[in-house]
Amino acid sequence: MATHAAAEPKQLWLGGAEPMKASYGKLMMWLFLLSDAFSFSGLLIAYGLVRYAHPAYDGDVENFVFSNQYWPIPERVFEAVPFFHGYQLPLVFVGLMTFILIFSSVTMVLAVEAGHRKDKADVEKWMLWTILGGITFLGSQAWEWGHFITGTDKPTILTDVINGVQVTKEVFGANLHVNQYGPQPFADFFFFITGFHGTHVTSGVILNIIVFFNVCMGLYERRGHYEMVEKVGLYWHFVDLVWVFVFTFFYLV
């Protein structure tokens, strides 16, 4: 066990010092995540601004109907679950997605822990679970987008003024031009915020696959440490962290 007990050589930056006792890669990842946190905050705060600029629905939840006159109650918009067509299951599917993402964060941190022990087989196992969780989440989101775009069984009758003429039309689903669930910005923000987050998940899965491949090829074993697993781990946890906020501010509030 002498090889394991031997202290790792201290990693110094090229200037000969190690700022904040963090390696270059880890510190830069943290600073990148900080800037990325600002991007997401910008989107979520813009959502809050536009939402408060629209009237809120102030009737009972039971009598709620879709209209572009007030902001919708999210729990009445997101109540569909795959294979349970026609049932009202508010927030169940998005709750499941939240659980999947939190769990994949746990498997990621288990991979990091295994990396500290230089246990290659364990790192492989947990990285694979993390990738699987990420792909499952993306699949769920694809389904949710599909359902959101296609719409409910019954259309919403929306009245709009186009070129000074009042037009009444039946609307199914939502896109960037029409929205059956409420005011147009509601759909726009849905696509933009969950889309931006989904893009992050996608790149996270790709990074995880690359690192998983490197682990399998023994690259980090030869290098003597699994810090790369830690760095993509930071990114992956950040994606989970953002979802915690998206879940609260887009789906719950």
Binding site: A37, Y52, I73, E75, P90, V109, V244
Partner: protein, 110 residues
């Protein structure tokens, strides 16, 4: 960090340290329980207590964020300077949230 490990087990003919995952799973259960509580609050409090609901959700979200950043991202184990380098800029977001939500309210009332 090899010195942290005292127990070793044999695996595929090699000696590897025993996993220390107690804290990770504890954090997982805390996150799960808070998420479940969020659902309970979402469906048990009546619609007109909107402000109370929002406050509870925001509080729970911040607790969850603290656990993810502190334990999973290991920020609480980093040096004080790194910790505050990350936390202090994030605190200013709270101000922007308040300012723009109020601003949004004014847009609808003019």
């Amino acid at each position: 960090m090899a010195s942290e490990y005292t127990e070793y087990v044999e695996k595929n003919g090699k000696m590897v340290a025993k996993p220390q995952t107690k804290k990770i799973w504890r954090t997982f259960w805390i996150l799960l329980i808070i998420t479940v509580l969020e659902f309970v609050v979402a469906f048990s409090l009546p619609h007109h207590m909107h402000l109370l609901k929002v406050s509870i959700f925001v509080g729970m979200t911040i607790v969850k964020a603290a656990y993810i950043m502190g334990e999973f991202m290991h920020l609480s184990g980093e040096t004080k300077s790194l910790f505050w380098t990350i936390i202090v800029p994030l605190v200013f977001i709270a101000w922007l949230v308040l300012a723009l939500l109020m601003e949004g309210g004014f847009i609808s009332s003019y």
